[in-house]
Amino acid sequence: MRLFKQFILRHLRNEKLRSLATILGIALGIAVVIAIRMTNDSSLRGFEKAIETVSGRTSLEITGAGTGLDELQLNQLDWLRDYGQVSPVIEGDAEVRLASGRTEAIRVLGVDVLRDTKFRDYRILEFAEKRRDPRPQEFLELLLDPQSLIITEKFASRHALKVGDRLKVTFADKADEYNIRGLLRDEGPARAMDGNFALMDIAAAQLAFNRLGRLDRVEILLNDRSRIDAAESEVSKKLPEGLRVNRPARRGSQVEKMLEAFHFNLSALSYIALLVGLFLIYNTVSISVITRREEIGTLRAIGVTRGKILNLFLSEAAALSTIGISLGLILGRFLAYGAVRLTSTTVNALYIASAAEPPPLNLEYVLIAFAVGLPLSLFAAAVPAIEAARVAPTAAMRGSDRLESRYRLRSRYLIIPLLLLALAWWFSKQGPVAGLPIFGYAAALSIVFGLAFLVPAMLFVLVKIGNRLLFRLFRIEGRLANANLAGSIPRVSISVAALSVSLSMMVAIAVMIGSFRETVVYWVGQTLKADLYMRPATRNNVATDAVFSSEVERIVQSHPSVEAADRFRNFDLVYGDSLVTLGTGEFEKQLKHGKLIFKTPADGPAAMRRTIGVDAVIVSESFAIKHQKSVGEEISLRTPKGEARFLVSAVYYDYSSDRGIIVMDRGTFIRWFGEPQSTSLTVYLRQGADADAVREDLLKQLGERYQVLIYTNSSIRQEVLRIFDSTFSITYALEVIAIFVAILGVATPLLTLILERKREISMLRLIGADRRQIRKMVVIEAGLMGAVSQSLGLIVGLLLSFVLIYVINVQSFGWTIQFHLPLGFLVQSTILILTATALSGIYPARRASQLMAAEQVTEE
């Protein structure tokens, strides 16, 4: 311990800047990993917690196929009472318009209050003050009027609401005022969605959500909970066709599966920042070992064992990373706020309504951070630490065993990188593992490490080429910078590799996103042919509960300028063990007015036409890839009439959701699922009609009562790209952090190199180099490191982008992306990186220009 204090801690104190940069690098790496983990957890846990708190004591729940179940079916379920209490439920999201004009989403539960009090704990404030629960009769009286609801005390105090106030709420497409009849204390279901919860009578909720006669599920509270397994299997056997029994938590696991690929990809990205942080640890310990060889020699000479030397340097890494990880945890919590904000648009738009706040920093995150950060840091430090332990005492003290600083290219140095690249090729040919692109990431990692091993050789070639060119560009300072780089290839390779890895990921992601965006732009341009697109105001892309009132459909269809309105309905359906979207539209209208782009067969529209009137469907590409179904095969779907088989007639391109979409003609749907209510309307106008004017007119006719979003063709295109861009904003944010860490990785070794080169710089000053020339030389050197890194980053980034586009994306999301090079972005980022790295050389350059101790050159 004493040796650690004297030899390592004092050194770290003396090398403040390098220690700080390393700590900061690790901290940022860990912070990003933790922030992403928290973000992923927040979207999932928010959802799962809502399920858990809302379901209360419910043991089992019965759900229908797709759009819930008919309430008349309750009569056939009388026998359920043998198992326990039964309660029907309506659940959905509504939008509250606050006095400030702002809107907030609120989870609404519609229950039969007489039955439901046994399922959930409702502590109504008024009665709680009387130290008792409301009697069912009192409860019923509170919600007798269909325009009444009970909100939570938390929501009320947040928005200064009280019992008796009126609240503007939009359910599906209908806005109305509701009376607040009571306040729930912060217990039980009132805790769902952080208090954004309201309770209604089931009949009122059916009316409000346009679900008259429908139920979302029937909940069962078993008399004997210990028999849950037996009860579940018995009930399952007795249920009529089309109904299914589940435990409430299963809904959470389905969502978890749906989000898995999205979360996996985010996590993988977050590890890049950590990877760069680890390069920094390697760098710091290497420099520490290299610069202290004589000291190590002395320690070995006076009897310190090899094991102790190894431990000393590993503990240096451990000390730095422990501080870095601790800082990273705190920083991660703050970053998580930003990350939640950046991802929530995507998660809300494409998957589920998610929580707005990251979870608190608990022991689990602390353990994860240390479990990930510490071993990896020690692993990164192991190579230089082993080198330190191998130092021969006498040779090191004489300085005669110094590493040869001049790198010579030998063909055997190319074996490992080439092997890694070959391995990457093999990995990229493998399929997904449990739906995740594990081999895709292994391929990316192999390319990255292949690059890292290739860096010294590439530097060698580049400095050879650079000698004359740099003299032409920057005169003698350019040549000196190039020579310095040539002379320190083994040293700077790690920094250049770290920066290159980071930049290559940025390039790869930019190419992937650029290609994806171009593909989506093309797809949108080809497929969005209608004049107007409508949906209920409260409905996001996947909230299946918001449907149009029939009045709205009537108003639209009877408008004189409307030639056709394709009524579309979609909802979640369990397929296998995952959620897919089942959609239904009017194929005749779609074929006449719209345009889908088909992947297979060649004549897609004809295949689509053939599905009309028969049990056949068309599926999105992501469905076909994820579930490995192609044209001609059959899929089995759960319908209210039981399992049914449908022929896959065509596969079409779709980039609106990665969960997989199955679409059938309205006629087929009605046969199996019953009359659908529409969730969106695609409106085609008569020739010469002005879309904006019709939109205004429709909005006027719908008035205040109906809250409907109407997009014109151009605005829906903008909306698609807005969601697209916000989806990838987190990707860029992660990359910026990784690059920042990497730039730290350029500045610190450069400073160390400068300090080590004191003698040469002093000599240059003595023979006539002025301060400006020294500064220029160091800044060019830093810029050169940036330029080399960016060049390598561009080459490897393109390789990685192929893996991202053709392997990872296809396996994660089932999307075909057309390759497109975002030249503008690449040029812009190259300029930015060169500037940033050159700027990172300013401080080392200043330090260098202040050097000129004559002693440096006259003493050895």
Binding site: R406, L764, I767, D770, Q773
Partner: protein, 241 residues
């Protein structure tokens, strides 16, 4: 007069107490002279050499190089003075390991903004003059100590300086190579008339100089002129050589 040192004192502040490394030294060097400074370690000879090479400024007293008082020059002007009028040779050669021998020799001209072709031509001429024309493309670590020192000498004169400062140029060489280097310095002194001020521990090296200034404790102890049997009678603390 190439160099005039007038009652120069150099004090280093730092540490616990100030250290007076040079205590009132005066001397003069005429065009084409070769003068050696001798003395034990810590006598102040290196400090005096640094001052004469415009690497540092005196704490008090005047130091004139070709009539220019270095006390009156700022850092940039001092740099320019060194770049244009002074050459340096050190005990440890101080070639840049990252540049080839040819590039090292050409460096002062290029730092002064000279053209690459002219610098390369001059470097090649000088390399031939010092017997290194076959080593131009080699790197310092690939040649011997004697060759490195000859390369350093070539570098020190490529820009035709008025004054060559040589700090123990043979101190790190075996006697054979040391002799060659001294011979080379002597030839340069005679043939191109360059003024040389060298510091050394070695009496043999000092013997190559026309005059030898012996220093002790920061002061000039005595001055020996080659050919003279007795040391100069002039005041040791105010010697004008």
């Amino acid at each position: 007069m190439i160099l005039v040192v007038d009652n120069v004192i150099k004090t280093y502040v730092g540490g616990e107490s100030p250290v007076e490394a040079v205590r009132g030294v005066s001397m003069e060097l005429r065009q084409g002279e070769m003068v050696a400074i001798m003395g034990p370690s810590g006598c102040g000879k290196s400090t005096l050499l640094h001052l004469c090479g415009a690497m540092d400024r005196p704490t008090s007293g005047d130091l004139l190089i070709e009539g220019v008082n270095i006390n009156k020059l700022n850092d940039d002007q001092l740099t320019r003075l060194r770049r244009e009028r002074i050459g340096f040779v050190f005990q440890f050669f101080n070639l840049l390991p990252t540049l080839s021998v040819g590039e090292n020799i050409a460096l002062p001209l290029l730092l002064d903004g000279g053209s690459e072709s002219e610098a390369a031509r001059r470097a090649s001429e000088l390399a031939e003059r010092v017997g290194l024309s076959h080593r131009l493309r080699h790197y310092p670590q690939q040649i011997s100590g004697g060759e490195m020192q000859r390369a350093a000498i070539a570098r020190s004169v490529i820009h035709k300086p008025a004054l060559l400062i040589a700090d123990d140029p043979t101190g790190n060489l075996d006697s054979d190579n040391g002799e060659k280097v001294l011979k080379l310095l002597g030839e340069l002194n005679r043939e191109i008339g360059i003024t040389i001020l060298l510091a050394t521990h070695s009496a043999e090296t000092a013997a190559a100089a026309g005059r030898v200034i012996h220093m002790r404790d920061g002061k000039v102890e005595r001055v020996v002129v080659r050919g003279a049997l007795q040391p100069s009678e002039e005041s040791a603390t105010h010697a004008i050589v």
